[in-house]
Symmetry: C2
């Protein structure tokens, strides 16, 4: 059997399981999630063993240290994966929740309720914890899932998947609900992106390259996630102490994540007072600044920014800085260069705050707070499957509800039209 | 300038207009919609003149009569288009409506509101009324729109678009909000399907071929609409008089539309009593029946159904009929052959009704009513931009709300993480 045939077998099994999942109760799903968590912890030495093989292969390939860190599993991280599953078990079940109900003039009763999406495909990279996170969230929302992890974590993922499947299926979850693509070559991804008869959605999780490949080549609907070129704009009359603390937090607290700031926009009237403070503090934090030409007039030892800087997600301790003359110029810069993730204004001007929130084209628009809060837990969803940077279906942090669709239930008494 | 460059100019203009539209109030949008309606009626002779040219070209090409009917415009149909725009003006504005609000333990205030999608692409075929319907709905939901109509209606569409643009822009709608692609060759569509930097969504409206092309080739997110292989299942113990009336309505009242029934499933215990009645009544209605082998044993003069019949959207007075032994067999047949549109059960059994609604994989699942009700107006949305047969973003009839996205507005007082 070639890869394509094997992929279709997996997809068919997932589709059958998704049908069976429509009849599985919340109690059964939660029990399975708790069993999956317990089994992961109980088998942690087996997982760590497999992970060692992945790490050795990675060393042989000479990958970067940050990459090795993402790949590595130890007892503590496995406990974290287990806790994630327990957390998912504790969240309210979105399936069956109603959001529209009407009786039409002709007496027809119409309800709209949330139902599972069906079969969810997840394509991800090095982090093996995504395997249990994504499987747990998809399962809780009543979906079957087809997981395709990166080749670097294949040994870890195979062991984790085996444990999750065994725990799930022996606790009432239909066989086939959790599928894993164990072919490491690219062809498997290309086939997956065209399985429209089986998959209801594909969610890519990983770097910009992976996401671009999926968006450009998938005929299955995609939810685009993750890239974040986030801005903060310091308005005229802003509290500059607050602005400095927020800027430092947004850039420095965790520069590798997608909700970290990449560009700071400063109102030109505040720049003479603010820019030297920023330069001093950011330098002390180990962060390099790259300024526009007007910045360099005020702080000549700043490195100059180039055009490419405005659209770059550094993921590192680098910040581009630009002076703008008013809130509208700030908004226009943002709407030109951002990725629709998270943007903030630091201001005391209520009109500018309102204008900024209305015009800025992004999932999450902040007044006087750090962009770092864009996160499923911080927003009150308990967990997240990713942060959507597109506008269809879900925008911003996606909780369990984003893993559901809806269905109209209509009741008549012989109604004809 | 080649087609690609011109398409990008249109898309850039639409994106700028979408930004400006975020600041346009409901009052202005409604005034513009009413002006667009009035101008269409005032200029109806000019539209009819242009339509004549389209009809003559169609005759020269020798198209089918049903096609000519879709293309044709007269005073009454233009009045209908104008009424559609007035109806859209009267609907509540979805923009700004909130659907999530929370204060987090750290004091961060988070609201989620509906915002325009941005730039909506509509690719459609012969019916020139789609031009005003789609433009009006997109505008009301605060979007810019890029319309790409079929080459058959190009003369009518150009005149209609000119009228709509003039009325909109002279009544406060930003220039560029309504774009029309006047290139009739396929290349324009192929370019449009790849304009990810400008378009937020593409909605195809038309036949199965058009929809397939768009779904398979678009990297812009797509909302799949329209194909309907709809079923009705007559359960054991159903009210057979009701079943017959619903079956006739679902098949015969308007066989060309997507919510018409294509396959009737009959519980084998009811078939001996029901099938002859059905055959007699449907034949009287001019409808051809194509039965499974078990049907033919009961009614030997029925035409036999072939495998292909079960997945065919006839759009005509033809009905395939199959006997099944229980509700689960009915559900399995439906989930195998349907397109996720509308399905109905005729039953007196509350457990079977519940099971059917829970397991059937479709946007709208009916108990004791005709599938013909799946429609934006019938569901209480006042108007519709199409009927989604996919599960992401919107499923079933799409009203104005389906033309919006959401945005998180977050308020802090210097909050850092």
């Amino acid at each position: 059997m070639d890869i394509r045939e094997q992929m279709i077998l997996k997809a068919e099994a997932a589709k059958r399981a998704a049908d069976a999942m429509t009849m599985v109760s919340t109690v059964v799903k939660n029990k399975a999630l708790l069993a999956m968590a317990d089994r992961l912890e109980a088998e942690s030495s087996r997982i760590i063993e497999a992970n060692k093989a992945d790490l050795e292969n990675a060393v042989a390939k000479g990958v970067r240290k940050s990459y090795m860190d993402r790949l590595m599993l130890d007892k503590k991280r496995i406990a974290g994966m287990a806790d994630g599953l327990r957390q998912t078990a504790s969240l309210p079940d979105p399936v069956g929740e109603g959001d529209y109900e009407t009786v039409r003039p002709n007496g027809l009763e119409i309800r709209r309720i949330h139902v599972p999406l069906g079969v969810v495909g997840i394509i991800y990279e090095a982090r093996p914890n995504v395997t249990s996170d994504a499987a747990g969230l998809c399962l809780k929302a009543g979906n079957a899932v087809i997981l395709r992890g990166g080749s670097e974590a294949i040994c870890s993922n195979k062991v984790i998947i085996g444990i999750l499947q065994e725990a799930a299926y022996s606790n009432g979850i239909p066989e086939g609900t959790i599928q894993f693509v164990d072919f490491t070559d690219r062809e498997a991804v290309n086939i997956m992106l065209r399985l429209n008869d089986y998959l209801d959605v594909i969610i890519p999780r990983g770097g910009a390259g992976l996401i671009k490949t999926v968006v450009e080549n998938s005929s299955v609907p995609v939810i685009e996630t993750g890239t974040g070129v986030c801005h903060t704009y310091v308005d005229e009359g802003a509290d500059l102490d607050m602005a400095l603390e927020i800027a430092v937090n947004a850039k420095v607290s965790r520069p590798s994540v997608c909700n970290a700031m990449e560009t700071l926009l400063i109102n030109s009237k505040e720049a003479p007072g603010f820019l030297p403070l920023l330069m001093e503090r950011m330098t002390a934090e180990g962060c390099e600044l790259r300024g526009c030409s007007r910045c360099l007039e005020l702080v000549p030892d700043m490195k100059p920014a180039e055009e490419l800087d405005w659209s770059t997600e550094y993921g590192d301790l680098i910040l581009s800085v630009k002076l703008v003359d008013d809130v509208n110029s700030a908004i226009e810069h943002i709407n030109r260069y951002n990725t629709g993730h998270s943007e903030a204004i630091i201001t005391n001007n209520v009109r500018n705050a309102h204008l900024f929130q209305r015009r800025v084209n992004a999932s999450s628009v902040y007044v006087n707070a750090s962009t770092r809060f864009t996160d499923g837990c911080e927003f009150g969803f308990g967990a997240e499957i990713g942060i959507s940077t597109q506008k269809l279906h879900a925008r911003g942090p996606m909780g369990l509800m984003a893993l559901t669709s809806t269905k109209y239930l209509v009741y008549g008494e012989g109604h004809i039209r």
